[in-house]
């Protein structure tokens, strides 16, 4: 093979691998990304049941009820709308009423959000960025509340 042919082979292989990578990325992006929604988004956009989403907001004060076998029910609110959440499992250390959290799961046909994971912020001083933005949007953000 001449130098030119070899280089073509090399470039061809490179482009081939690149094409495979692009195809993988595109197909994965279609199927496996999760959108973040505030409770108002869920109500307004009518997120269809079964779609995996992230739901973030504040845990509504007085809404937390614990059942048997580590079942927990609570409401996530952004001040405008509130969504009831069902969860079974261990809650993070900083899960408290009035705190900002992010949950991931699906909306059930009845409108209840079935969460399979609950994330709280790591530290007293920070709020999940998505939650802070969502609260700012709904006008329930108090400056100095969390920084």
């Amino acid at each position: 093979m001449t130098r030119k042919q070899r280089r073509l082979v090399l470039i061809g292989c490179g482009l081939g691998v690149l094409a495979v990578a692009v195809a993988l990325v595109l197909s994965a992006l279609k199927g496996s990304i999760v959108f973040f929604n505030s409770p108002s988004d869920v109500v307004e956009k009518r997120v269809s049941p079964g779609t995996r989403i992230r739901l973030g907001g504040l845990v509504e004060t007085g809404s937390v009820q614990r059942g048997d076998n580590l079942a927990v029910h609570f409401k996530v609110t952004d001040g405008k709308s509130a969504i009831a959440v069902d969860y079974r499992g261990v809650l993070p250390d900083l899960f408290r009423e009035g705190q900002g959290i992010v949950t991931e799961g699906t909306v059930e046909p009845g409108g209840v959000f079935k969460a399979d994971s609950v994330l709280a912020k790591h530290d007293e001083r920070y709020m999940p960025k998505e939650v802070a933005d969502a609260l700012k949007k709904s006008g329930h953000w108090k400056e100095g509340e969390a920084k």
């Binding site: 690149l18 990578a21 496996s32 990304i33 499992g89 261990v90 250390d93």
Partner: protein, 660 residues
């Protein structure tokens, strides 16, 4: 007073850096030895001043000087001494100071140990190193000064973020930074080569030890971070594909590619232009990692504070260095002479294969990490890209790479014999197939892909050993001959074997822990027992303790296997009053390379406590494999050829004196 000394020392370091950024380049242009020599003095001076600044900040922490804002924010007088040290870099300002400390340390090492470098190359390398340093000194002094005083000195500090009060954190950031910043040296070498417009095989010999050292530190740093997340965050996961983790993984992948392509360049004088590009990309990814973690665009435990001016400043540094480097590359790279030829099936070809797949895998991680940010900036839509995405993209690209790992070192340079190599790997492949079959039989109904993963891991490990056996001719020649040959092998050959073996070990751990783990989440009252696999854990009761700066609530469990007590586990929850926050401390019980993992959830009103119990088979292999890879790197680094650097022209042999 101490803080002011530190501040002043940092300003002096900036002054020296500015001199070093300009004078040596001029010297190299004019071929003036004195001007070029300036760089050595200033590089050492920079290191001394930055070390002074760092020592000053450390002193402020150790003496709990709360009049310094940074100490007030992140320390507490009751904190154990070790955490007073580690909290120096457990915050934004201090960690940036550590960053420049390591940068200046590397600069000083090039100045001190680079005596075999040609003077112009050395001058240019140190100058480029100093461009980076100047930018970061300026960044610290303008936006993140750790030495600022508070007008009224408070009586007590606000304590370090509790989850950072851990010994893992003491080691993780410095190692990670050694890796990140270590790649600045290969970057500087690449830029210096582009400035000079000249590059040869010797260049790769000079760059490889630095890149190797950086890669080793990064490997350990990532492993350490992953182990820390595993036991401290209480979820039992070892990798979350969190953007911050990806930020450290990307330079590691690119750095791995760089190490391999530098071999081709050193041995065969080929792939020069590509290696230069990789050197630039690796450090660019390190800078992007720093940007992602430090700018506040991501929310995580690593984002110590989000001040928009910092983000903009780092972004400017990023654009300047990455953009500048790539522009210089586009302009100068075509001038570099092309290297040697090789057939597609050859050692060079195998290393190109390695590079192709590594860079493609790196690109998918890059996309997955930055796509959500780009989408939010462009459309305001918020998404999260998690493990499923990376499993679907990173996974398929890494499998062919892992399959090819045993083939590479067995190929001959220039023109290889794929069939011959395959024949030599029959043993390794046979072993892998047997293991796959056994795994299938043992785990009927389990995850289908897991046995293949195990087989792949064993193939990589056995393949690494095969390479060594083939080289010394074990089983073919008498044992003493083989041993003699083994002694004659360069250490870098052992390094390759060990590092590839470590890769297999990590893979084995990852596959076993993530597919055959068992998990149970229950609420327990005292005296109740929970069983998982062959272990029975009885909840004995709760004890409360007072730590130095926290209160601890520990649950005591007796672990039994087959009726015999084999130990106690005490997971706990710590409450830190100074921050009104708490952490969960998981309890780990190691059985061989497997672990039982127990962490506490909430206390319920009826006196029961929620617990999470995991059995993680062979989980320790994940990190052990990383340590083995590190050792492989260390073996290779200790190779005499690398230490000495470029071959020097042989001195003329002294002529024999005629007998008188």
């Amino acid at each position: 007073m101490i803080a002011e000394i530190g501040h002043y020392a940092l300003v002096l370091a900036l002054g020296l850096a500015l001199i070093q950024a300009i004078v040596p380049v001029v010297g190299a242009r004019l071929n003036d030895g004195t001007l070029m020599g300036v760089a050595e003095t200033t590089a050492l001076g920079q290191f001394i001043f930055v070390a002074t600044a760092f020592a000053a900040l450390t002193a402020c922490y150790v003496f709990s000087d709360f009049s310094v804002a940074n100490v007030f924010e992140n320390s507490h007088s009751a904190m154990p001494l070790i955490y007073k040290f580690t909290s120096v870099w457990g915050n934004h300002e201090g960690s940036m100071l550590l960053w420049v400390l390591i940068l200046s340390l590397f600069g000083a090492s090039v100045a001190a140990f680079g005596s075999n470098l040609p003077a112009p190359l050395k001058a240019n390398v140190l100058a480029v190193q100093s461009w980076i340093a100047s930018a970061f000194y300026l960044f610290i002094l303008v936006t993140s000064n750790p030495f600022l005083r508070l007008p009224d000195a408070p009586f007590e500090g606000r304590d370090l973020n509790p989850i950072l009060q851990d010994i893992g954190l003491a080691i993780h950031p410095p190692l990670l930074y050694l890796g990140y910043v270590g790649f600045s040296i290969s970057f500087s070498f690449a830029i210096a080569a582009l400035i000079e417009g000249r590059i040869d095989a010797a260049w790769a010999r000079w760059v490889r030890p630095w890149a190797l050292a950086a890669w080793m530190c990064l490997t350990l740093g990532i492993a350490m971070g992953s182990y820390w997340a595993y036991y401290e965050l209480g979820w039992g996961g070892f990798w979350f594909w969190d953007p911050v983790e990806n930020a450290s993984l990307m330079p590691w992948i690119a750095g791995t590619a760089l190490l391999h392509s530098a071999v081709v360049m050193e041995k065969r004088n080929a792939l020069k232009v590509w290696t230069i590009l990789l050197a630039i990309l690796t450090f660019s990814l390190s800078l992007i990692g720093t940007f992602l973690v430090r700018s506040g665009v991501l929310t995580s435990v690593h984002t110590f504070a989000s001040d928009p001016t910092r983000g903009v400043f780092i972004l400017a540094i990023l654009v300047l260095f990455i953009g500048g480097a790539l522009a210089l590359y586009a302009w100068r790279a075509p001038l570099l002479k092309q290297g040697g030829l090789f057939a597609p099936i050859s050692r060079e070809g195998a290393l190109v294969f390695n590079n192709l797949f590594l860079t493609a895998a790196c690109a998918t991680v890059f996309t997955g990490t930055l796509y959500p940010l780009a989408l939010e900036a462009l459309t305001g839509e918020k998404i999260s890209v998690g493990a499923p995405f990376f499993n679907l993209t990173f996974g398929p690209l890494f499998v062919p790479l892992l399959l090819a790992v045993p083939f590479g070192p067995l190929m001959a340079w220039k023109r290889g014999d794929l069939l011959g190599v395959a024949q030599r790997l029959i043993g390794a492949a046979g072993l892998a197939l047997v293991v796959i079959a056994v795994a299938f039989v043992l785990t009927q109904g389990g995850p289908v892909l897991a046995p293949f993963g195990i087989g792949l891991a064993l193939f990589v490990m056995a393949g690494a050993v095969t390479d060594l056996i083939e080289r010394v001719g074990l089983l073919r020649v008498p044992l003493p001959t083989a041993l003699a040959r083994a002694r004659g092998l360069p250490r870098s050959a052992f390094g390759t074997t060990v590092a590839h073996f470590g890769l297999g070990v990590s893979l084995l751990g990852i596959v076993c822990a993530s597919t055959w783990g068992a998990e149970k989440i229950v609420a327990l009252k005292p005296k109740q027992t929970v069983s998982l696999r062959s272990y029975d854990l009885t909840f004995d009761g709760i004890v409360t303790r007072q730590g130095p700066n926290y209160r601890e609530l520990a649950a005591r469990f007796t672990v039994r296997q087959g009726g015999n007590a084999i130990g106690l586990m005490e997971p706990s929850k710590r409450t830190f009053p100074s921050r009104q926050s708490s952490t969960t401390e998981a309890a780990l019980m190691t059985r061989g390379a497997s672990q039982l993992y127990l962490s506490l959830g909430d206390m319920n009103d009826d006196g029961s406590i929620a617990v999470r119990l995991y059995h993680k088979p062979l989980v320790l292999l994940i990190w052990l494999g990383a340590v083995v890879m590190f050792l492989g790197g260390a073996l290779s680094l200790s190779d005499r050829r690398l230490r000495i650097g470029a071959p020097r022209p042989a001195k003329a042999k002294p002529t024999m004196q005629p007998a008188e």
